[in-house]
């Protein structure tokens, strides 16, 4: 009925030696993943939208739709 004495010290250090690198890798990995799946496509989408953006055309379309209060559609 005599068991070997269990490990009494250094338990947190042992756990951290494995899990701290894992934590860092996962954190940095998720940041990199977010950058290349969300922020870079979003920047590209905005660049593409404004590359051939004609603000006068858009304004006139909105004006004709009648959403402005300061300027009425051309008919009225």
């Amino acid at each position: 009925m005599s068991l070997p004495k269990p490990v009494m010290r250094g338990l947190l250090a042992r756990r951290l030696k494995l899990h701290l690198p894992i934590a860092f890798v996962l954190a940095i990995g998720s940041a990199i993943a977010f950058k290349y799946t969300v922020t870079e496509p979003r920047k590209q989408a905005y660049a593409d939208f404004y590359k051939n953006y004609d603000s006068d055309k858009e304004f006139n379309a909105m004006k004709e739709a009648g959403i402005f209060e300061s300027v009425q559609p051309s008919g009225e």
Binding site: E58, M62, I67
Partner: protein, 175 residues
């Protein structure tokens, strides 16, 4: 008049509180269904995973045999037999850790009763919809919502990645 009633109320509460604090047993005048009264002001024994060493041993009144075993425990433990060691353990503790950790089916009862009450509240909400709530505002009508949607598209709401980006302005339809 008001002073008199608040004074009476205060003294009533004070009397109840002192009765609860001064008596050593938990019994109150109205409490009738508890058979054995545990003195909660004394150290208690509990089988809990997070309390490995309870405040007092499990067995209080030891028989003569158990008392002689306790005397033997005061000497070198190598002279105790395996059965004696187990008997001493069972005197000190009610359940072992594996016995405490045994899984039970209690979670099924808990989930079931919780869902039953959720269902009852669902029925109550349904009854409320039929008998209590007033008519929804005019902004909920189909026609109003269609006009609202058209206005959002006319205003070019979120034209880059969001709402209006999904509308094809040349063809007048969703992309």
């Amino acid at each position: 008049m008001l002073h008199l009633t608040t004074g009476r109320l205060g003294s009533l509460l004070a009397r109840r509180v002192t009765a609860a604090l001064s008596s050593s047993s938990v019994r109150m005048a109205s409490h009738s269904h508890e058979v054995s009264q545990t003195d909660m002001s004394q150290p208690m024994y509990v089988d809990r995973l997070d309390i490995p060493l309870p405040d007092k041993p499990y067995k209080d009144n030891l028989s003569a045999e158990e008392q002689s075993l306790k005397k033997k425990e005061e000497g070198p433990w190598s002279q105790l037999t395996k059965e004696e060691k187990i008997a001493l353990y069972r005197m000190m503790f009610c359940q072992t850790f594996p016995e405490m950790k045994q899984p039970s089916d209690e979670w099924k009862t808990v989930v079931g009763v919780a869902l039953i009450f959720l269902g009852i509240s669902g029925l109550v909400v349904w009854w409320q919809k039929v008998f209590v709530y007033p008519k929804t505002p005019r902004t909920f009508d189909e026609e109003w919502q269609a006009k609202q949607l058209k206005r959002m598209l006319d205003m070019r709401a979120n034209p880059v990645e969001g709402f209006s980006a999904k509308w094809d302005y040349e063809k007048g339809q969703w992309k």
